[in-house]
């Protein structure tokens, strides 16, 4: 076939009045050729998803509307297509996979029936032929035992398997264009690697054009043929993957690429300060069941022994369900450990009651993942910061004076103390959370995926801040993350967790250069863009 499958020309989508800018996307032009993967990269709010949804005709009605330009799908303008024509095009000529495979699939319909539905709507095949076709496509996305999966409900499958079902559903009619909107963001790295491999295989075999939306340059390096970089609704740079990643021209692209942490750990001095935190055979067992249910036990953490010195950062790395957050929450005593000890300040706090624990709350503070939920939306950020010190008898004036100092320390204006959380961006809120933690003058700071929800550029700044405060206050930092790149940047030592057990533990450099455990090695192999040296450009 000649000519591009998808051509977007000068697309402009208006935002409703009162938004932070006039148009969600403005004058966006790019194209997707057959058999090509085009990655649209940008941070949150760059308009990449709006672009993808415009192509599918899925913009929220009454809120967003394409006000200019055209979107040509195999030469046909979808912006002017009738709703019934659009319905016919969706599924047959273009299809989409979404970020969250659990919510994108209907939980009360079996997986097979959901793929079958596409065929029922768009073809007049008989039931037997359809089933054959569904099983064939399920087989082609490497789902184990398609016969059995056909009758399974989405909740019975893992995240990766659900995403495969989504892909099967999208590809069953061999569309010319596949739009993938952050399809791997909600998945673990090892699953992500498999799905990326699957997408590029399917695309190669079928000659599908893929429009791949992502914020992750590692993913881009892994699969993109061409890259389109978007910022605030504009395309700032476009080119082949090699050009853009090795030799970026636009300052924004340069900034984004520079913000991607390298996978090679920095050389760090060995810390010899006193031990601030030690866990001894820490276990957490979640026991289910009650009067009527069968007893079910999940060992979220078993026999975890970790030790963090003052001034040291220990990374706990693992995929979801590995128990890394459970360990962090036990140490912060947000949950009660089932057995084992947590030694802080020469005192085992694992068994203390809430009342006995209060004096020890000062020693250990935590910064959470989601900056939008970490601050009480009804209280000014100043009130949130002074709450802790005032619980321990610091006078209001002294606490406020300290809060002002801390705001300066985390790079925010002290005058902003009277503002409410919704007036800050995600990165700023995370700074406020760090200030709140520091207000308690802790010895241990737990960062539970503290930078995972942030855009890369903001992520780099918050990481720098965390490292600064560690040095300044000689903190013992427990850094929980699923991201090896981030861990390489900030951690002195790393503990790798799998299924509640620490499988490997050592200096960051050693773990990265010479991983011992098979699971650690598989994590490294799955890290997107691991073979790609990102340009370091000024």
């Amino acid at each position: 076939m000649s000519g591009p499958i998808l051509e977007i020309r000068n697309l402009t989508v208006g935002l409703p009045k009162g938004g932070d800018r006039a148009n969600a996307v403005e004058n966006v032009s790019f194209h997707v050729n057959p058999g090509e993967i085009v990655c649209v990269v940008g941070e949150s709010g760059s308009g990449k998803s709006v672009t993808a949804h415009s192509v599918m005709g899925l913009l929220p009605k009454g809120q967003l509307k394409a006000t200019g330009g055209e979107i040509l799908l195999e030469g046909e303008n979808v912006l002017t297509a009738t709703p019934s024509r659009l319905r016919a095009l969706r599924g047959t000529r273009m299809s989409m996979i979404f970020q969250e495979p659990m919510t994108a699939l209907n939980p009360v319909v079996t997986c097979g029936a959901q793929i079958d539905e596409v065929l029922q709507i768009h073809t007049d095949l008989g039931a037997a032929e359809r089933k054959e076709k569904v099983l064939a496509v399920m087989n082609s996305v490497s789902l184990p035992d398609p016969e059995k999966m056909f009758d399974a409900y989405p909740h019975q499958l893992s995240g990766g398997q659900r995403q495969r079902i989504m892909i099967a559903q999208a590809l069953v009619l061999d569309p010319a264009l596949l739009i993938a909107d952050e399809p791997t963001t909600a998945l673990d790295v090892t699953t992500q690697a498999q799905i990326l491999k699957l997408v590029s295989e399917m695309q190669e075999r079928r000659g599908t054009g893929v429009l791949f939306i992502t914020h992750d340059f590692g993913v881009v390096a892994e699969i993109a043929h061409r890259v389109v970089v978007m910022q605030k609704g504009h395309v700032v740079e476009a080119g082949t993957a090699n050009e853009v990643l090795k030799n970026p021209q636009h300052p924004y692209t340069k900034m984004l690429i520079n913000a991607v942490p390298p996978l090679t750990p920095a050389v760090r001095d060995e810390k010899t300060g006193p031990v601030a935190l030690e866990t001894v055979k820490l276990c957490k067992v979640y026991g289910g069941g009650g009067f009527f249910q069968k007893k079910r036990e999940v060992r979220a953490a078993s026999d975890v022994d970790i030790r963090v010195r003052r001034g040291e950062t220990l990374g706990i790395v693992g995929e979801s369900g590995s128990g890394k957050s459970t360990v962090a929450r036990c140490i912060a005593r947000l949950i009660e450990p089932s057995s084992g000890g947590i030694v802080v300040d020469n005192m085992d706090i694992a068994r203390l009651s809430e009342r006995q624990l209060r004096p020890h709350r000062k020693h250990c503070q935590i910064v959470f993942q989601d900056p939008y939920r970490s601050l009480n939306p009804r209280r000014s950020v100043g009130a949130s910061i002074v709450e802790g010190p005032m619980n321990f008898g610091v006078s209001a004036d002294a606490a406020h004076a300290k809060a002002r100092d801390l705001m300066k320390l985390v790079g925010l204006s002290p005058d902003a103390l009277d503002r409410y959380p919704h007036q800050f961006s995600g990165g700023q809120r995370q700074r406020i959370c760090i200030a709140r933690a520091l207000a308690m003058e802790p010895e241990i700071l737990i960062a539970d995926e503290a930078v995972s929800a942030l855009d890369v550029s903001v992520q780099a700044q918050v990481l720098d801040l965390l490292d600064d405060v560690r040095k300044k206050f000689d903190l013992a930092v427990l850094f929980i993350t699923h991201d090896l790149r981030v861990a390489a940047q900030i951690c002195d030592r790393i503990a790798v967790m799998q299924n509640g057990v620490v499988v490997e533990h050592g200096k960051t450099v050693d773990v990265f250069t010479n991983p011992q455990h098979a699971y650690t090695r598989s994590l490294f192999e799955a890290a997107p863009g691991r073979n790609f040296e990102f340009a370091r450009v000024a």
């Binding site: 709350r361 009480n376 709450e387 790079g411 002290p414 005058d415």
Partner: protein, 311 residues
């Protein structure tokens, strides 16, 4: 902007004020359901308050000479000082010759008082119990089983029991309506608390050593306010209805105090001939319940963030 030199460019974004959001109050006053409902409720409250001024005669004064008069009929009676006065019966009179208009106007007092009292008491009790059940896991199953038990008691049976144990009166009626209503509030509050207690900001407050009581009041309680205001209006409406039902059945407020329910009860025998005895209190009752429900619906649309998107 007078930010210190250490401020990164990041901080600037926060200095531009966020786009002005229409406040909750402004949104409320733009909602026609809220406005209509509120207006009718206020009129009813006003009528109840000034009942002694607008009532044309004593609501319990019996005038055997003027029984079963039709609306707009007039009758004359001797006043205390011996002069004769003429009274116009806007809504006619009942079988004992009492002025229905005056009785309906006084009836507003009882209905609205009961509605408000039941809503306030059940929310007050339900809030405390719900907070405890939601926050303290070990109390949860005990409290919730008791609540399940309470929920199984029908208001009317309970009213009969309370009345036979003590005597008919305001207090008995309020108790009979509050008891089955409390578990509903407890469930609502508990559900909110269960989700809010997992919020990182609540956990952050725990880690900062905030005492439990302070934590509940400062961080958890405010989240229950909006759903409780909404639930409160619905409780109020249903309490007004249940009181009318109880009084109609004769197990509510004793007949010497006029309420919409017992006015209707007394008009029942002659309903075919003189429908006004039931019609007028019925209109007031329906209008009030409708208004309170409209108010509740409007409040829910405005206060519940999940409903906002549909707008």
């Amino acid at each position: 902007m007078t930010a210190p030199a250490t401020t990164t460019p990041l901080a600037d974004a926060a200095d531009t004020p966020a786009p002005a959001k229409p406040t909750v109050w402004r949104k409320l006053f733009r909602n026609p359901a809220v406005l209509t409902g509120l207006a009718i409720v206020l009129v009813m409250v006003f009528i109840g308050l000034i009942a002694p001024l607008i009532a044309t005669s004593d609501p319990s004064a019996i005038n055997p000479a003027a029984r079963n008069r039709l609306p707009m009929a007039e009758s004359s009676m001797r006043a205390d000082d011996g002069t004769r006065i003429t009274v116009k019966h806007w809504m006619g009179t009942d079988t004992l010759g009492r002025d229905v208009f005056s009785r309906v106007v006084y009836g507003a007092r009882v209905s609205i008082f009961i509605g408000v009292a039941v809503a306030a008491i059940s929310i007050g009790v339900g809030l405390v119990v719900g907070l405890l059940a939601g926050y303290f896991r070990w109390l949860d199953s005990v409290i919730m089983r008791i609540m399940d038990g309470l929920m199984a008691i029908p208001a009317i049976l309970l009213a009969i029991a309370v009345v036979s144990l003590s005597r008919a009166g305001l207090l008995s009626v309020i108790i009979a309506i509050v008891v089955p209503e409390v578990p509903r509030v407890v469930r609502l509050v508990r559900a909110v608390v269960l989700s809010v207690r997992e919020e990182p900001y609540v956990e952050a407050a725990r880690v900062s050593g905030t005492p439990t009581l302070k934590l509940l009041i400062r961080h958890v309680l405010p989240n229950t306010v909006a759903p409780l205001i909404v639930q409160g209006t619905f409780i109020c409406a249903s309490a007004i209805l249940v009181e009318a039902i109880l009084s109609f059945l004769g197990i509510g407020i004793p007949p010497e105090i006029p309420t919409w329910g017992n006015i209707m009860a007394e008009g029942r025998q002659l309903f075919r001939v003189f429908p006004h005895n039931i019609l007028y209190p019925g209109i007031f009752l329906a209008l009030t319940v409708l208004a309170v429900n409209m108010l509740g619906d409007g409040l829910r649309d405005t206060l519940d963030p999940k409903m906002e998107k549909r707008g």
